[in-house]
Amino acid sequence: MKILIIEDEPSLRESIITYFTGEGNICEAVANHSAAIEKIHLYDYDCILLDLNLPGGDGMTILSELKRINKKDGVLIISARNSLDDKLAGLNVGADDYLVKPFHLSELQARVTAIVRRKNFDGNNFIVFNEIKVNTVSKNVTINGRVLTLTRKEYELLIYFLANKGKVISKTAIAEHLWGDEMDLIDRHDFIYTHIKNLRRKLIESGSLDYIKSMYGVGYKFGDL
């Protein structure tokens, strides 16, 4: 994937670049409005990560500029809640998704992957990882051609892992991904544990290798052994 990061906070920009680089991704980053406009004119990106509060101009104008020059780049808005709600209209102006700061990088990765997948394959595609094949339209999962029946949460978990393969994902990130706002309720991680345990069992029983590894008690990693 080719990704453009438009974010003025250097530390955050660095983190995103670090997290996304590798796995065949190419990341470019700009810190202000004019540089961003220049980049979108010059190149095509699979996904643009756009912070709305930019020095030198409102991030929303970048969206309209993209539309004006008829670019089909995917756009994910990353912004603080306050500026976001007023601009949820942003989704109508051409953004594909938004993420509220602060966020987990794994969540960002999952969102970006989803956008790129929708963009590139017109919503009709498969995610393939070794013997695991996921049809994201019918939400069918097969291992070596054998259909695997997963609950909704287990399916979401698998997709999340696949988007972040090779990365250590913290339990809080998983919990917030699966439960969102309700997480206010469960600071206990036994729910996650149950889901992961079930997913892992089902994958192995269907003939997959054991790709899910618990990492130092703080999170999980899905990836090649």
Binding site: E9, S11, L12, S15, I16, T18, Y19, A80, R81, N82, D85, D86, V100, K101, P102, F103, H104, L105, S106, K153, K167, V168, I169, S170, K171, T172, A173, E176, D181, E182, M183, D184, L185, I186, D187, F191, M215, Y216, G217, V218, G219
Partner: protein, 415 residues
């Protein structure tokens, strides 16, 4: 008691007492003066009789006029000269009349003659009566005008006060309405108006300052939070950690997660208070409640809590976002403070939405639960959920109430 009533009561009683005292004193004085006058007249008459007797050696004829009677008695009894009040028979047919009598004596040819002179007191009595009526009239006039002044003039005088009072009563710190001042030339009220206006301005300014501080603070916190968040994620990728380090990391993640949610909540509160959420949609609460109960199902099952839904159709006009948060908070609350194998009952009709749950077997403190950061020790939340819910309800002019009945904690949203 009203100030004016209190004041006029004191005024009234004092005036009445003073007027009565002066009236009585006046009456006595006039009475005394008139009696003196009569006595002088009687003494003059006595002198005349004495002079006549001395000159002519005989008594003047007994007289009996309308207002003066002279009688002689030839009794050798000893007596003293004295004035006294009496009642005598008026010849003019007026019947008995009050009079003033002088009993004295003259010596006629060596013999003592008792002389009785009576003068009518009717005229002087009339005078006293007239004076009495006039005084009474003055008393009534004075007191009634005092009452009228109190009722009308005082009410008008106090109007600026009442105007400002009624405005203070409806004073709302968050709307920008200035205090309206009734024009007045009364110094006290001018001062009051000035003081109140200055006070409300200062309060408003402090409030705005404080609010914008909170807004800015929580907003500014966002960036470093996002940085820490992302750096933690990166740190996690960097290498192998021991189990011990992993536990530390997990605590940090949990703390971060709480901090972010706290910050989001504060931002949300600020937004609602600043009327920044404008989008309104027709929302079927029935659908939303059902959706929420599905969403929370997993947790409900884990806690073995049974849910009963009695839902009628109810459409509200709210921001979807806020409606979602409101129900999330109420649901979370009902579950978090529930007991194992507890009960949640949700009623929805056109008047209200109520969520009841089993839990601690004592009522919560109704005054405190809606306050920010109020939570009991066992609560894992931040103590903002109910404050936010209250704020959301307030925003849409709904009423959020709490009651404890038959062992259940019940939160009602009245539309």
């Amino acid at each position: 008691m009203k100030l004016s009533r209190r004041y006029s009561r004191v005024n009234f009683i004092t005036s009445l007492i003073i007027l009565l005292i002066t009236g009585i004193a006046y009456y006595l004085l006039i009475h005394f003066i008139l009696t003196e006058q009569l006595d002088r007249d009687l003494a003059i008459e006595e002198e005349e009789i004495r002079a006549y007797t001395k000159q002519y050696k005989s008594l003047p004829a007994e007289a009996n006029f309308k207002d003066q009677i002279v009688r002689y008695h030839f009794e050798p009894l000893a007596f003293t000269r004295m004035f006294s009040d009496t009642v005598y028979n008026n010849l003019k047919g007026h019947g008995e009349e009050p009079g003033r009598r002088l009993i004295t004596s003259v010596v006629l040819s060596g013999k003592l003659v008792r002389v009785e002179i009576i003068k009518s007191k009717v005229e002087s009595e009339d005078l006293v009566r007239i004076i009495f009526y006039i005084t009474l009239g003055i008393i009534i006039l004075l007191l009634s005008s005092l009452t009228l002044i109190n009722r009308f003039i005082l009410n008008r005088l106090w109007k600026p006060f009442h105007v400002i009072l009624s405005q203070l009563r409806v004073f709302n710190i968050s709307d920008g309405r200035e205090i309206y001042q009734e024009d007045t030339r009364i110094d006290e009220f001018v001062e009051l108006n000035t003081a109140v206006t200055a006070l409300t301005r200062r309060i408003r300014k402090d409030y705005v300052d404080l609010k914008s501080f909170m807004d800015t603070a929580s907003h500014e916190m966002m960036t470093p939070l996002a940085v820490i968040h992302s750096k933690l994620d990166i740190l996690l990728q960097t290498g192998t950690f021991t189990q011990n380090q992993g536990e530390l990391l997990e605590d940090i993640f949990n703390g971060m997660s709480r901090l972010s949610r706290l910050n989001q909540s504060l931002l949300l509160l600020a937004k609602i208070e600043n009327n920044l959420i404008q989008d309104k949609h027709a929302i079927s609460l029935k659908k939303l409640v059902m959706q929420k109960s599905r969403q929370f199902q997993e947790i409900l099952e884990a806690e073995e809590i049974s849910v009963t839904l009695n839902l009628d159709e109810k459409e509200v006009f709210m921001s979807k976002y806020l409606a979602d948060i409101l129900l999330n908070n109420l649901f979370s609350n009902a579950i978090r403070h529930n007991i194992k194998k507890g009960v949640v009952i949700i009623d929805l009709n056109s008047q209200f939405l109520s969520i009841s749950n089993t839990g601690r077997t004592e009522p919560l403190n109704e005054d405190k639960i809606f306050h920010r950061f109020n939570k009991d020790n066992s609560s894992e939340g931040m103590g903002l959920g109910l404050a936010i819910s209250k704020e959301i309800c307030h925003y849409y002019a709904y009423r959020l109430t709490y009651q404890y009945q038959s062992g259940q904690h019940r939160f009602n949203v009245f539309f």
